[in-house]
């Protein structure tokens, strides 16, 4: 009778032992599944202020990924070292303080990625919007609140470049309306659309030319011109992204996509902040979404929002969750090894009789240990299959509770920091967690399987050491 036959008989006929081991490995497997699933979970967030209109999608930079890259590049340059890497810069000032900053190349959406998504079947049109860029108005006056001290303001206006202004977020939402002239199209170069208030203040009309340059070097930087293509009226107003008159809604000037980088002094290095993609057939919305998600780009760099404001972001958004899942895996693996090892050791003590018989029959110690391992693996396979069947529910629960815990801690932190100025600016832009998506993929099953197999082999092999260390006669004398 071979080792496999003996193992099968032992597993099937020693039911109490088998059921107990099955339960232990089952529970261990469940937590291992949860740990691996947690690492690949998607957290759905909703940002009410970002809800798109109609059948469209929106691409943004993922803040958590950005922070992670900053940390990595900082580490790459080295602590206490002046240097630049990948668009990240750090420099020690004369005062001894350190200044760090990122340039446009670091923060921008990549046009190649945008174009890949735009080429997806079902996308009818797309728009790219630059970040608000503050520049100095050279030949016109901006709108100012005379009662406010302007010494802390950049004393500029905000440029917002669009590939296709018609698809701009505020135009789509109906916050502004171009009643005079026209909107900017992809073919335009060096054109702008100004607010009614600036036009009235300066007596400007369509066809006039506005001049801009860098607000930090007002006297010396190159001046760039843009022709007024249209004048917009505020319907419900544009929400400013920051305090100060440079950002107030009347001072926002829409331009063609490549204009803002020029007066800012970064010509050739744009800062694309958003990209929106419009679906032609609304009924195909979900299908197109799946097609987009299948596009091969570095998705970890982005947040991808649908028309409900839902965003599937990777768990990096919840850095603690990543750590927690790693901690779960380590703890479960260690405790699994210890528990299975102890249980196996306990059983081996009660199987000394059997081991002695096998030795007296001329079986090798390695053969006997192989049988013990095979028994564990057979029970482990059954337990793993059972765990795989129920793991989606358990993993969802574990990941959900971890996310809830993380969210609660973030809320507590926000409450502690309530009232701080920096926070007040961001309050409207906070994303809410609305769900957690846990998928038990083939990769998760494979990693979990390898983990469980490793635990079983280490635990049982560890418990079998005493067989290797003892002489057959000692084992036989113990059995008698």
């Amino acid at each position: 009778m071979n080792v496999f036959g003996l193992s099968i008989r032992s597993v099937l006929r020693k039911r109490a032992k088998t059921i107990l081991l099955l339960l232990i490995i089952f529970i261990t497997s469940l937590f291992i599944f949860a740990g691996w699933a947690c690492k690949s979970a998607s957290i759905q967030t909703q940002n009410e202020s970002r809800q798109a209109i109609g059948a469209s999608f929106r691409l943004e930079i993922n803040e958590a990924n950005r922070s992670q890259k900053v940390a990595e590049l900082s580490k790459q340059i080295g602590e206490g070292t002046n240097g630049s890497a990948g668009g990240y810069h750090q420099e020690q000032l004369a005062s001894g303080d350190w200044m760090t900053w990122t340039d446009n190349s670091f923060d921008t959406l990549l046009m190649d990625d945008i174009k890949k998504i735009a080429e997806v079947d079902g996308i009818e049109a797309y728009n790219v919007t630059t970040a608000n860029t503050v520049v100095n108005p050279v030949n016109f006056e901006r709108i100012e609140d005379k009662d406010i001290d302007q010494s802390f303001d950049q004393q500029g206006v905000s440029l917002r470049g669009n590939l296709c202004m018609e698809l701009d977020f505020d135009v789509q939402k109906g916050n502004i309306e171009v009643k005079e002239g026209r909107m900017i199209t992809p073919e335009d170069t060096d054109v702008c659309v100004i607010s009614r208030e600036i036009a009235d203040l300066n007596g400007l009309k369509v066809g006039d030319v506005l001049e801009f340059n860098n607000w930090k070097e007002r006297e010396s930087s190159t001046v760039y011109s843009a022709e007024i293509a249209g004048i917009y009226d505020s319907i419900s107003g544009i929400t400013p992204i920051m305090y100060g008159d440079s950002y107030r809604s009347e001072n926002i000037i829409f331009t063609d996509l490549s204009f803002p980088e020029k007066p800012e002094g970064n010509e050739g290095s744009p800062l694309y902040q958003y990209a929106t993609f419009t679906v032609g057939d609304v009924d195909e919305y979900e299908t197109v979404k799946k097609r987009i998600q299948a596009v091969n780009i570095g998705w970890e760099r982005y947040d991808f929002l649908d028309n409900t404001g839902m965003s599937d972001t990777m768990t990096e958004n919840f850095g603690e969750l990543e750590k927690m899942s790693s901690l779960i895996l380590i703890l479960v693996c260690i405790s699994g090894i210890i528990i299975i090892c102890l249980v196996s050791l306990f059983w081996l003590k009660s199987r000394v009789h059997e081991i002695g018989i096998y030795l007296s029959l001329g079986r090798t110690k390695c053969g006997i240990i192989m049988q013990m391992l095979l028994e564990g693996i057979l029970v482990g396979c059954a337990a793993f299959l059972l765990a795989a069947a129920v793991s989606p529910i358990v993993s969802q629960g574990v990941v959900g509770s971890l996310v809830d815990d993380q969210t609660r801690r973030l809320e507590e932190q926000e409450q502690m920091e309530a009232g701080m100025v920096a926070n007040a600016l961001l309050e409207d832009d906070q994303a809410k967690v609305v769900g957690v998506s846990v998928e038990i993929s083939g990769n998760v099953i494979l990693l979990s399987g390898i983990s469980v197999l490793g635990i079983i082999i280490i635990a049982i092999a560890g418990s079998c050491i005493f067989i290797m260390l003892q002489k057959p006669k000692e084992i036989l004398s113990r059995m008698s």
């Binding site: 018989i357 007296s360 001329g362 002489k471 036989l476």
Partner: protein, 215 residues
């Protein structure tokens, strides 16, 4: 056939207490040997050394002129030795047939039938068999390997007189008809009286070796 030469043994933790003190003897095929002695006289140690379960501190054990260490103790146990114990030592999760198959490739059912077990008894749990039946299964398992030497440690210790006599008869048949070398360690003088050769161990030495076949 199976020979011990100048074998000395002590436990490494008790070096001053010699268990076997330079003993030599040659066991032959076709005979049943009874090893007698008081507790602590070295009977079971001798059996362990002959079985290759342990190695002597000094001296040599050889099978057909070849040191058993050369072949390896596992190989010696597997090919040359069959063991029968006082408490039967059957694997409890295997049936009698499966237990016998552990011993070797011989016809398990045939061996069990020859030991007096029927088909039904051979396929039920070994725990449902009587002590005598379990010992028969153990002997059948020992025979399955077709090893030339059968070592038995108090094989009748847990059996009633009638069953013990039946088992002894089986051992004698194995020695005389199957030409095996049967070595039985026992306290039983009744059993020893039926053996061909009686070895008496005392304080680690062979105090007497009485071969009744020569009388």
């Amino acid at each position: 056939m199976l020979e011990i030469k100048d074998v000395m043994y002590y436990y490494k933790s008790q070096k001053d207490r010699v268990i076997l003190n330079h003993i030599s003897y040659s066991f032959e095929e076709g005979k049943m040997y009874a090893v007698l002695g008081t507790s602590g006289s070295g009977k079971t140690t001798l059996l362990s050394l002959l079985a290759g379960l342990d190695v002597p501190i000094e001296g040599e054990i050889s099978m057909n002129g070849v040191n058993i260490m050369q072949k390896g103790l596992n190989g010696h146990r597997k090919e040359n030795i069959s063991l029968v114990f006082q408490n039967y030592n059957l694997i409890d999760y295997l049936t009698p047939v499966e237990n016998v198959r552990l011993g070797g490739k011989e016809d398990a059912m045939g061996l069990l039938r020859s030991m007096g077990l029927d088909e039904t008894q051979s396929r039920r749990s070994v725990m449902q068999l009587s002590g005598g039946q379990q010992q028969r299964v153990a002997i059948a398992r020992a025979l399955a390997s077709n090893a030339p030497v059968l070592l038995a440690d108090e094989p009748t210790g847990n059996l009633d007189e009638d069953t013990a006599n039946e088992i002894i008869t089986i051992f004698l048949e194995l020695a005389h008809e199957k030409k095996k070398c049967v070595i039985i360690v026992t306290h039983s003088k009744e059993l020893a009286q039926k053996a061909d050769v009686v070895l008496t161990l005392r304080k680690g030495t062979i105090a007497a070796a009485e071969d009744i076949t020569l009388l």
